[in-house]
C-alpha cells in the first residue's frame, strides 16, 4: 500500500467498529413493554384526555391537617434534642397518624394521571405485575415511610418489562379506595393502571 492508504483504511475500519459498537446498546434502551401472560406484546390503547393530571397532595382530604393531632407536642419541638424520648414520641405519633392518613373520597373511581417513583412488588418471568408508586425518591428506604395516602398500589394491565426500582414514571389509570380493615384499619389507594410511561416533564 502507498502511504496514506493505511490511514484511510484505518479510518474506514474505525467507522465500522463504531457502527458495530453503536448498534448493541440499542438493546439496553429503557423501554417499558407490556407483555401478556401468553407472552404477546400489547400496546395499551387509551384516550389521553380522559385522565386528569393529579397532584399528590390531592390524595388527602382537603381539610386534613396531618399535624393537628400533634400540635401540643410540636410546640416544644424547638427545644427538643434528637435523642430526647419526647422527640421519639413525637415521631412515633406522627407515624401513627400517617399510617391512618385518610383518603380523599372525591377521587374514588376517577381516571387520573400521576407521576411518581416505582417500588417493585411482584416480578415474574414476564416482568413486573404490581408495584407501589411513591411521591419522592428514596421514599421508604432512607426516611420514615410516607403517609398511607401517599402510596399507591398500582396493578398493571399486563406484565411490564423494563421497569425497575425507583424508575420515574407517569401512570394513567383508575383510582380506587380500598377500604381494607387489615393494615391498621386504614384505607388505601389502588390504581388500576391503563399504561405506564417513562416520566417526561
Amino acid at each position: 500500500m502507498k502511504p496514506g492508504k493505511p490511514l484511510i483504511a484505518l479510518l474506514a475500519f474505525v467507522a465500522g467498529a463504531v457502527a458495530f459498537l453503536a448498534v448493541w446498546p440499542l438493546s439496553a434502551s429503557p423501554m417499558i413493554v407490556f407483555v401478556t401472560a401468553e407472552g404477546e406484546t400489547v400496546t395499551p390503547r387509551f384516550d389521553p384526555a380522559a385522565f386528569r393530571d393529579t397532584r399528590w397532595y390531592e390524595l388527602g382530604p382537603k381539610d386534613w391537617d396531618p399535624y393537628a393531632q400533634t400540635a401540643a407536642l410540636r410546640r416544644d419541638i424547638g427545644s427538643l434534642r434528637d435523642a430526647d424520648p419526647r422527640a421519639k414520641e413525637l415521631l412515633r405519633g406522627v407515624q401513627e397518624i400517617w399510617t391512618r392518613a385518610p383518603t380523599n373520597p372525591d377521587l374514588d373511581g376517577k381516571a387520573i394521571r400521576i407521576p411518581g417513583y416505582v417500588v417493585p412488588l411482584d416480578r415474574g418471568p414476564l416482568g413486573m405485575s404490581e408495584f407501589l408508586l411513591v411521591p419522592y425518591f428514596g421514599a421508604c428506604i432512607h426516611s420514615p415511610p410516607p403517609p398511607s395516602n401517599q402510596i399507591l398500589r398500582v396493578s398493571l394491565p399486563a406484565h411490564a418489562k423494563g421497569l425497575k426500582s425507583m424508575d420515574q414514571v407517569w401512570v394513567r389509570g383508575t383510582l380506587r379506595i380500598a377500604r381494607s380493615e387489615t393494615a391498621h384499619g386504614a384505607s388505601a389507594y389502588e390504581l388500576s393502571a391503563v399504561t405506564v410511561e417513562p416520566y417526561v416533564r
Binding site: G16, S129, L132, P145, I151, T182
Partner: protein, 424 residues
C-alpha cells in the same frame, strides 16, 4: 450482478482455507457475544423468578443485597442470627399476614440445607405466584414423629439419585471436610419437590426442630467431646428453635410494606432489617450491571478484533489477487464491480461466521445447559434469539460488511495498469 456474486463465491472458495479461519474467529466472537447475552438474560430471569409473593425478608442487620442473596439464593453468608422472640414481635404486627422462619448453614454434599416450618411449603412462591408442589411423597408436618424427615429439591434428588425412603446424612457448614457430619442422626427422604427452576431445586429441607436436634451435642461448630445424644433421646429435649437466619414475611395489605419495614428496623431488642425482594434485586443489578457492561464491551471488542482479522486477511490477499482483479478489469468489469466482489466476499465470510456462531451457541446451550443447571443452578433456556440477540447478530454482519468495504475500496483504486505491469 448475479454472475459477479457467483464469481465472488468461487473466488472465495479458491482461498477457503484462509477465509474459513477468519470465519472461525468471527464464529467464536459471535458465540462469545450471543452466549454472554444469553447467560446474562437467563441469570436475571432465574433470579427474578426465584421469589414471588414474599413482601419482606427479615434478618439481622446487614446489606439488603446480602440478606436477600443468602435467604433466597443461598449465596454468601449471614452476618448474624435473629432470635425467635424478635420474629414473634414482627409477626405480631397487625399488617403481617404470615411469617415463615428459615435457618441455613448446614449442607448435604454441597447442596444447602434449609430448616423451616411446614408452612414454608404453603407460603413460598416463585415465578408468577406459583406454589411449591411435591412431585413424590409428602412434606414433613413439624411433629416429633417426623423429626428426621427431609424433603428434597428436584435437582438434589436427580443429581444424587435419591428416592423416597433413602437415608441421608447432613454436614455442618459447607461439608467439604469430613468429620463435621451429623452422621449419628440420619434423615429419611419423605418427599421430593417438583422442579421449579429456582434455588429450591438445590435445597434439602428439614424442620427447624430437626436443625436444633442435630446440633444439640454440638458446641462451637464441632461435636462436644464425650457428649453424645442419640437420635431418639433428642426428642426429649426442648427443640423449639431459639434463633434462625431470616424470615419470609407476607403482608395483608402491601401498601403497609414501608410501615412494617420501618417497624422492623426500629425493633428495640436487636438490630433487624427488612428488605423488599424486588428493590434488593434491582440494587443487585445495579452492582452487577457495571460488570455486565464491561463483559459485553469486551465481547464486542473481540468481535471488532476478529473483523480486523477479516480486513487484514482480505487486504493481504489483494496483492496475490492483482492478476485476478486485473483480468476481471480486462474482460470488462468496472472498478465498482471489483468493489462489489470484495464487499460481497467480506459479507459472505461474516455471514457464514455469524451463522456458525449461532449454531455453536445453540449447541453449547444444549450440551452445557444441564451441567450448568446442576453445578450452578443456572437454567439456560433455548429459545429463538431475542431482539437483543438479533441486533447483536445484525451488528456483527453489518460491521463485517462495512469493514470489507476497506479492501473493496482498495481494489477499486487499484488500476488496471497496476495489475498488468508487474513491478520490478
Amino acid at each position: 450482478m448475479r454472475s459477479l456474486l457467483g464469481l465472488a463465491l468461487r473466488s472465495a472458495w479458491n482461498r477457503r482455507s484462509t477465509l474459513s479461519l477468519v470465519a472461525f474467529s468471527i464464529a467464536l466472537s459471535t458465540l462469545l457475544l450471543l452466549g454472554f447475552e444469553r447467560i446474562r438474560a437467563d441469570v436475571r430471569q432465574n433470579f427474578s423468578q426465584s421469589v414471588s409473593g414474599t413482601d419482606l425478608i427479615v434478618g439481622a442487620r446487614t446489606g439488603a443485597v446480602q440478606l436477600m442473596l443468602y435467604a433466597v439464593f443461598r449465596v454468601g453468608g449471614a452476618t448474624n442470627n435473629v432470635s425467635m422472640d424478635a420474629l414473634r414481635a414482627v409477626a405480631a404486627n397487625r399488617a403481617v399476614d404470615w411469617l415463615v422462619p428459615i435457618s441455613l448453614g448446614d449442607s448435604h454434599r454441597s447442596f444447602p440445607v434449609l430448616a423451616t416450618t411446614p408452612e414454608y411449603f404453603k407460603r413460598f412462591q416463585y415465578g408468577d405466584h406459583r406454589k411449591l408442589a411435591t412431585g413424590e411423597g409428602r412434606v414433613f408436618d413439624g411433629t416429633l414423629d417426623q423429626l428426621y424427615d427431609c424433603v428434597l429439591g428436584a435437582e438434589v434428588a436427580q443429581a444424587l439419585g435419591y428416592r423416597l425412603g433413602d437415608h441421608i446424612v447432613l454436614s455442618h457448614g459447607s461439608g467439604a471436610i469430613p468429620g463435621a457430619e451429623h452422621a449419628d442422626k440420619p434423615f429419611t427422604v419423605v418427599g421430593i419437590l417438583q422442579r421449579t427452576g429456582t434455588p429450591v431445586d438445590r435445597t434439602v429441607h428439614i424442620s427447624l426442630e430437626a436443625m436444633e436436634a442435630i446440633h444439640l451435642d454440638w458446641a462451637g461448630g464441632a461435636p462436644m467431646p464425650g457428649m453424645h445424644i442419640a437420635p431418639e433421646e433428642a426428642r426429649k429435649f426442648d427443640l423449639a428453635p431459639k434463633q434462625v437466619t431470616a424470615a419470609l414475611v407476607g403482608l395483608k395489605n402491601r401498601v403497609a410494606v414501608f410501615a412494617v419495614q420501618r417497624a422492623v428496623a426500629d425493633y428495640k431488642g436487636e438490630p433487624l432489617m427488612a428488605v423488599l425482594p424486588g428493590v434488593a434485586l434491582d440494587d443487585l443489578w445495579d452492582v452487577i450491571g457495571v460488570g455486565e457492561k464491561a463483559l459485553l464491551g469486551m465481547s464486542a471488542m473481540v468481535g471488532v478484533v476478529s473483523l480486523a482479522g477479516l480486513v487484514a486477511v482480505v487486504l493481504a490477499g489483494l496483492n496475490e489477487r492483482r492478476r485476478e482483479l486485473a483480468v476481471l478489469r480486462a474482460v470488462g468489469a468496472a472498478p465498482r464491480h471489483l468493489l462489489l466482489v470484495l464487499a460481497a466476499e467480506g459479507a459472505l465470510v461474516t455471514l457464514i461466521g455469524a451463522a456458525a456462531g449461532l449454531v455453536v451457541t445453540v449447541l453449547s446451550i444444549v450440551l452445557l445447559g444441564p451441567w450448568l443447571q446442576a453445578r450452578y443452578g443456572i437454567g439456560l433456556t433455548l429459545e429463538a434469539p431475542s431482539v437483543e440477540q438479533w441486533s447483536l447478530l445484525g451488528a456483527i454482519v453489518v460491521a463485517g460488511f462495512l469493514s470489507s468495504l476497506v479492501p473493496g475500496w482498495r481494489a477499486y483504486r487499484m488500476s488496471l495498469v497496476d495489475g498488468l505491469s508487474p513491478k520490478a
